[in-house]
Symmetry: C2
Subunit: 697 residues, 2 copies
């Protein structure tokens, strides 16, 4: 490439990263604003009718608006973009693992995800916008990297430089980082999330670019927040970066805090893996129900969930009792949208603590639970009711056909149980070293660790959310314990979804039994090959008869046939489409990956009989350096190679000269445990082997 | 492996990680304490004689103790462990890249590094203990992973489970993370440092283990600090985790702060790459001087540097002027070791600002420069003198034969220039949005970015050092700018040292010209092969005549010779050492990598003539699944494979059946740019190609 092209490419790469950051930051900001406005208006109307004792109208407003919002989100999601349902993090993870499932990063999905998220979150469901924002960031990155969508005729030619999978994958990784950075206002946490959870391959150059993208998000958010009036911009932290400020708490410095931390970690790990187990069951039930009854079931279920949620939000606070406001507080009962003291049906000067925890936006619930120096603010009964209802709601909501993040519900459940444990511990007197708010925080951390099984990224995200670095050591400890406990029982909640969706995810390490197999043990029948100089008719026939994506090209010019290389189906299709087979006709851009969709199909190509009888020289279009392994190679080593080098095809060649210069082609499918164990059922992994894998994972 | 063994292995792995964390934390704590006590005693003696106006005695005490401390460090380093000189980070980086240079992680090096660091830092030199602590952490990990040192007969059999390179490398990575965690009390920063700078290969399982190790360090430090009286434990932050607390500063939230941040970033990038350039020159000069004049030169130079440092520390403050103490401050003039107001030779109630910045420990200098709400505390002249002297001292000190970290001097230089810029900017009046202390902090960040070229890890380390997450966006921005600017000029200061030391470091991506070569273009002459059933005499001869580490084993049993696999020199040596060649004699532990040192040498093996004529069947000892590439493979692809899979040997096999079943073996050496460009000088990379590499790195 020329100097100018290199410079262009570099500049474009960084401009793209910057654009992804800016767009994701802005979209995150807008979603946040929209949710604050809609939910705020809804809740203020409900409260005003409550204050007038017109309870039925108040409930109708709440339930009606919730159901309407959720219904519109569900309609959007079910009709326009079904790929936008759920959290989106497993899909992004699958894409970054090399699985190019249709539509997961399409503009449609982006659109549904943005508006569906607003509907679902503003509709009061027990869902977060954090997971969807990761998906949104990735969609934006994918859209930008292909220079718009050819399907909707929105294309920007000058942005169409990233036509290879690697550049696109890199940008999507940056997009995922930007999503977390925008969702939690945690730029470093975003980079770490992309590194720990999302990406399957990582280079230090990518670390730098993801960091740049996150920094852009942080600065964009900061500018956006600083340019809007604090009253009209909803509840934001200082500098647009801290959501749940706990900066004032000081934790004690010693061993005395270890006991509660260990208890929280163990309980959180068990609870987290139990949550994962139940959510998996429910996800399967919902999925089969949706498959049987179609669109109607999806919409009905979403509306039903919205109704149940509204019922619990409005109905449960009646179980609470009114408490007189603390004398020193001048913000009780709270009149605005936020605040720890909701009046609900109490007389003036009193508050209902259960209403503060239920009849509120999710963010405010967390803020209330994390609030410090407020020991005794919430009763045992209130926290227990919150814990049960939020656990129940999180379970029935996840799996609904709407964009639904898992972070926020998990944080609420964790904070509720943490605060409950804290209340119990401090009631013993001896263990008063930690504030109840800190217990809530550590409880949230433990449940995140126990269900999502991330360590470094969750730790940094939580610290960035709460702005207190002194809590770093206990946070690390609680996460380590809860993840370890959780891993004893099952896989992380995201891995479980990958498994339920049947996505062929390649894990990092080969299974232990793969050491005992060779590549030929799993490689199917001799591959379909093409000659280096092949009749066009044969090519068309081969493409029609098989659905392989790569074909070995055999050179018959010498006395012994020789493997020349590997040609991709997509390249053959481009060749055939052109209809003229002389080399001069093509430049490298023609073979670039198409923006979106499946590209050319063999059915769309019509060739004249005289063209079919022509011969085409495949040499110039063939990848002459495919990666190869010899037939006696151990499957485990071939797996490592396939995974580390991010291959799509791996050619198996013979050790001794035989008639066939190639014995088979290994693809992702051949390495999947399901396939290998299907062939050799006696290798079925027992519990101990699984332990071994998990321990090294 | 059996269930019990698997469980043992898992438990051991985590116990090791925990032990590494505990030991590193404790060593870091002890070094810190030792430095605080020694330097504190030295400075208090100096100060007391100063106050009595007995200047010559004061200077003699200062210079004498500095020279003595540095001399003992230099003697230790030059005689006992020359590998302990310098920062140690490049050495750790090289080890983790697969370069097993002698002694870099030996117990000797560990010992020298610990005591040498104490001497050098307490001796007032412009060096830090941070780089050495990374090296110390890695040495501890290496020592533990090999279960002690066989050389010194300190072996713990029950710790000797990690006999493969991978487990050891993993633990050393954890050790590097622990080192940073102990040095800066920045556990998350430690993990990120290990990930971004130290490790060449990374798996998410490693992330988790490194996180665990760092958490152990954090908790160990916390307990250590909480169990000691605050007066006798020197100057520690709260909870043993914050060194330079800036938690009270609030930065403005808007665009106005962008201008100073950009200016600091650009200047810091230029200054950082200039520093790197100069330090490279000086390092080469020193190295050649040391090589010519030996031990004497090393010691003389160290003592000379200590003398010059003392002279500047004591002499330059005379240039300062006395200022009356601010009326509201009750800690002026400071009586203790820390404090912003040193009296020096001033009358009571006055302070000398230059003395606060020079006649102090490095940590206190940084604390003074980062101090906020103290605009006007330091004059232009004082800051300029500090900047020049610290720049000069950092340059002449680095390359001396003592353990010397680069972080602290770079932070001092950066903070000095940042504060200078801040003073200048605020004097204009319009740009008063940032505190002078924040300028100093951002200046330090920019110089770190400009010289070390790390982004995420430096960012997190700085945040953990200063406990203010609101400074995250400007810190990110300043680091990105200074790294970009620095990369335009040269490589990072650590990469430069790797290059100067001539370590064959494998970078992440192949050079662009490698695309135009095939593996056969760089592969030397046909390899030395062994037969599958080989005469012992032949093996001995081959081992004596060559220094190859791997030999292809050819199976001649079939009609056409066939490549059976690859056998390692070390395995052959174990075979020969035993003298008996029947398979039953060996178990897998025999072939494990020896703890330290070079293992068995061929010269040490004496065989009887009748043994030499025996035949040995090499089949069971051969790795039958070596990675292979075909002769027509592009060098760039082979490089990726070699690097990604962390190989030591890569076999080149023919595409068509020929007489030889193997054409060559590629090793690390064959992929080094020096070697390739030596063979094909016309491919010499021009500036633009270099830009391309850097941009993608």
């Amino acid at each position: 490439r020329t100097k100018v092209q290199i410079l262009q490419y570099i500049i474009l790469k960084w401009t793209m990263a910057c654009l992804v950051g800016l767009c994701t930051g802005m979209v995150g900001y807008c979603i946040n604003m929209a949710v604050e406005y809609i939910a705020g208006y809804k809740l203020s109307q409900t409260t005003s009718f409550l204050n007038k004792s017109r309870y039925l109208i108040a409930f109708s407003i709440l339930a009606g608006s919730n159901m309407l919002l959720v219904f519109s989100a569900a309609v959007l999601c079910a009709i326009v973009g079904p790929a936008a349902a759920g959290s989106g993090i497993p899909e992004v993870k699958a894409y970054l693992n090399g699985i190019d499932a249709p539509n997961i990063l399409s503009p449609r999905t982006l659109l549904v995800k943005v508006f569906g998220s607003i509907g679902a979150v503003a509709g009061g469901l027990s869902v977060g916008k954090e997971g969807p924002l990761v998906h949104i960031g990735s969609c934006i990155a994918s859209l930008l990297s292909q220079g718009g969508s050819s399907r909707y005729r929105l294309t920007w030619r000058w942005l169409r430089y990233f036509k290879n999978d690697r550049d696109r994958r890199d940008l999507v990784t940056c997009g995922a980082a930007a999503g977390v950075a925008a969702a939690f206002r945690a730029p470093v946490g975003g980079v770490l999330f992309a590194l720990e959870e999302a990406a399957s391959w990582w280079r230090s150059s990518l670390l730098w670019r993801a960091f740049f993208t996150s920094a852009t998000v942080a600065i964009a958010l900061r500018v956006a927040v600083s340019n809007c009036d604090s009253s009209s911009c909803g509840v934001f932290g200082t500098g647009g970066s801290i959501m749940f400020d706990m900066g004032v708490v000081s934790t004690t410095t010693g061993l005395s805090e270890l006991i509660p931390v260990v208890i929280l970690g163990v309980v959180g790990g068990c609870l987290g893996s139990f949550f994962t187990f139940l959510s998996g069951k429910i996800l399967r039930t919902y999925a089969s129900w949706h498959a049987r009854h179609g669109l109607f079931a999806k919409l009905l279920q979403a509306v039903l969930v919205a109704f149940i949620t509204s019922l619990l939000m409005f109905g449960l606070p009646w179980l609470g009792t009114c408490t007189a406001c603390p004398t020193e507080s001048d913000e009780c009962p709270s009149t605005g949208l936020s605040g720890k003291y909701k009046q609900f049906t109490c007389q003036s000067g009193h508050y209902n603590d259960l209403a503060s925890l239920l009849l509120n936006t999710n963010d405010n619930v967390i803020r209330n639970l994390f609030s410090t120096n407020t020991a005794g603010l919430y009763r045992y009964s209130s926290l227990t009711i919150l814990l049960c209802s939020s656990f129940f709601l999180a379970l029935i909501t996840y799996g609904t056909a709407i964009p639904s993040g898992l972070f926020i519900p998990v944080i609420i459940i964790g904070a509720a149980y943490g605060r409950l444990v804290g209340k119990f511990m401090t009631s013993f007197g001896q263990l008063e070293t930690l504030d109840e708010g800190v217990y809530a925080y550590l409880g949230a951390a433990s449940l995140l660790g126990g269900s999502m099984r991330m360590t470094v990224s969750v730790c940094v995200i939580l610290l960035e959310l709460t702005n207190n670095l002194l809590m770093l050591p206990p946070t690390m400890l609680v996460l380590l314990i809860s993840k370890t406990i959780g891993d004893l029982f099952n896989h992380s909640v995201y891995d479980q979804i990958l498994h339920i969706k049947g996505l062929p995810f390649l894990v990092e390490k080969p299974e232990p039994y793969m050491k005992h197999l060779t590549v030929m043990d799993v490689c199917s029948s001799p591959p379909v090959t093409l000659s280096a100089t092949e009749r066009v008719g044969n090519i068309v026939e081969v493409l029609k008869l098989t659905d392989h994506n790569g074909f070995p090209v055999i050179d018959h010019s010498s006395e012994v046939p020789k493997l020349h290389g590997l040609i991709l189906r997509s390249h053959l299709l481009v060749l055939l489409k052109k209809g003229d087979f002389s080399e001069a006709q093509f430049c490298s851009v023609d073979f670039a990956k198409p923006g979106s969709g499946k590209g050319i199909k063999i059915e769309d190509i019509e060739l004249q009989p005289e063209q079919l009888n022509k011969f085409v020289d495949l040499h110039p279009y063939t990848n002459a350096s495919p990666y190869t392994v010899v037939e006696s190679m151990s499957l485990a080593k071939a797996f490592s190679m396939f995974r580390q080098l991010a291959l799509r095809h791996l050619c198996v060649v013979p050790t001794t000269p035989e008639v066939a210069p190639i014995l088979g082609i290994l693809t992702r499918h051949d390495f999947m445990p399901e396939h290998v164990l299907g062939l050799y059922p006696h290798l079925k992994a027992n519990k101990w082997n699984r332990l071994q894998i998990q321990s090294s994972l």
